[in-house]
Symmetry: D2
Subunit: 173 residues, 4 copies
Amino acid sequence: MRRLARRKQILVIGFGKDHCPELAYRTAYSLGLEIAKRGAVLLTGGLGGIMEAASHGAKDGGGFVVGIIPQDDKRAANDFCDVVIATGLGFARDFLTAYSADAIIIVGGGVGTMIEISAAYQKNIPIIALRGTGGVADRYADTYLDDRKVERIMGETTPEKAVIMALAAADAS
Amino acid sequence: MRRLARRKQILVIGFGKDHCPELAYRTAYSLGLEIAKRGAVLLTGGLGGIMEAASHGAKDGGGFVVGIIPQDDKRAANDFCDVVIATGLGFARDFLTAYSADAIIIVGGGVGTMIEISAAYQKNIPIIALRGTGGVADRYADTYLDDRKVERIMGETTPEKAVIMALAAADAS
Amino acid sequence: MRRLARRKQILVIGFGKDHCPELAYRTAYSLGLEIAKRGAVLLTGGLGGIMEAASHGAKDGGGFVVGIIPQDDKRAANDFCDVVIATGLGFARDFLTAYSADAIIIVGGGVGTMIEISAAYQKNIPIIALRGTGGVADRYADTYLDDRKVERIMGETTPEKAVIMALAAADAS
Amino acid sequence: MRRLARRKQILVIGFGKDHCPELAYRTAYSLGLEIAKRGAVLLTGGLGGIMEAASHGAKDGGGFVVGIIPQDDKRAANDFCDVVIATGLGFARDFLTAYSADAIIIVGGGVGTMIEISAAYQKNIPIIALRGTGGVADRYADTYLDDRKVERIMGETTPEKAVIMALAAADAS
């Protein structure tokens, strides 16, 4: 038996399509492009907002995109997924996106993003928050989610630095 | 067809058994007792710490307790459950406890508690944080989980007040 | 710590509301009545057809009913549930109903029923098929679901006998 | 917005590693090879037996493999996955594999396989059973899973024919 050198799976999460400021959208696009350029697989929740922006960037960069959606019908995914995982679980799919990630990058984000980073945190999956993108990303950059644990959520300032940090953290964990 | 006057289902969440200070444990016991006394059904995650303490109190008060556990084997539940729901879903069961609640009361709590209140928040289920019990309960009492929404997490100071508030909020929603 | 003598949880499954012949409906009502009379808790999937019929019977018999529904909104449950567990998982809730049962009784049933008995079978939960009610119940009464395992699905001919058998099997397992 | 021409996602299911006859294993390997040759993505449950055999074949054919595992830890997957989805849901992951498939091919199989084809059946996802591989595949080839529905489970005799049929059925649905 031979062990395939599996490419790193980087999850990008954050604002959904109902509230996704232009700056956050452009930042997520750049993140997707960087992830593709560096040979990692992009994971997202497969829908709009940050998920779509990152996926668009990754496809423009020649990368590979997996969208893990809440619905049971693959057609609910955005247009930039190479593979669609249809869960039929509603928001409980947030656990799957988290558990499937080798590292996570946050762009803004609201309550749903809190769930994903909390699930990832319980499993010691590295989390990088992109500073200046608002929401959860700014609130938790460089802070601890839980006073009783020592892991930090790491803050980074540019998409390139965030992807480099995510890949390094994924290798180390 | 006749509509059964279903009793309110109050979920108590917070510290697990690995980190449950004595004060929080005693407070949860009192909460369970109050919930029983006022005729509501107690829901919990069915395991140790706050979940067990509240269940113990509810049984001592003659109440009814439902434990919704992460495991697929009912025997993993604590000793104070009248009904055990074995989910086999791991921590994704946090969505079920949240969705099944008519109102939620928080006693302390860490990352898992964040997931449950975030899931409840997305569905506008009322949340009451018991002040002075530490962790998530104190961090979020009287604040907003999400800047873009108007609902508050309500802070209360005693088990009795928290249960009265929970039942009133459950009736109103 | 004292171990509560938890009442047995008997799951009744079968035809949904879209295809539930009158005979099967009446049989399920009688099953619910018997389950209540013998002091067990009735579990169902919380919706129409066999689920509603058994729940109606159990309430008329003074019993206790827990409905575990696919939806994330408790209001989707039928009118005869004392406790509603809202899963938000779609049909994946079939695993939870199965895992939460101490024994299962089948009345008719289609593809969804196949999923529930398959999940229960994997965990060695006793299954009793009510003969003469059609569908899955008749196809699998007294046969093996899986050639490589020795457990049988037991066939019974009346609601009373099926409940007696279910309670005996639950005690033995 | 541009719609990506997503490659078809073909799910191969059947015997697990505890009971996987040599013939079934070799057949699944050939299936994986054919799926790769014809440019489709292989989906599997990510573990041993038929899942591993098909994945090995697909990698030898230069294809792309996604493994969707019950565990919450990606390391539980077999060695031939390009992408691993860690669900943490136990066997409830069978719904996700089914919903994510554009078509399904069965090689032998036991109770777990019954769950996956039942879930797929409820969503009208095409199912092809490979004749002569035993278990569920032989029991259900060319028959109906449910008397009240008109869709057939299609039986095919060689891996090549099964993959051609699966891709044609995926296109038509």
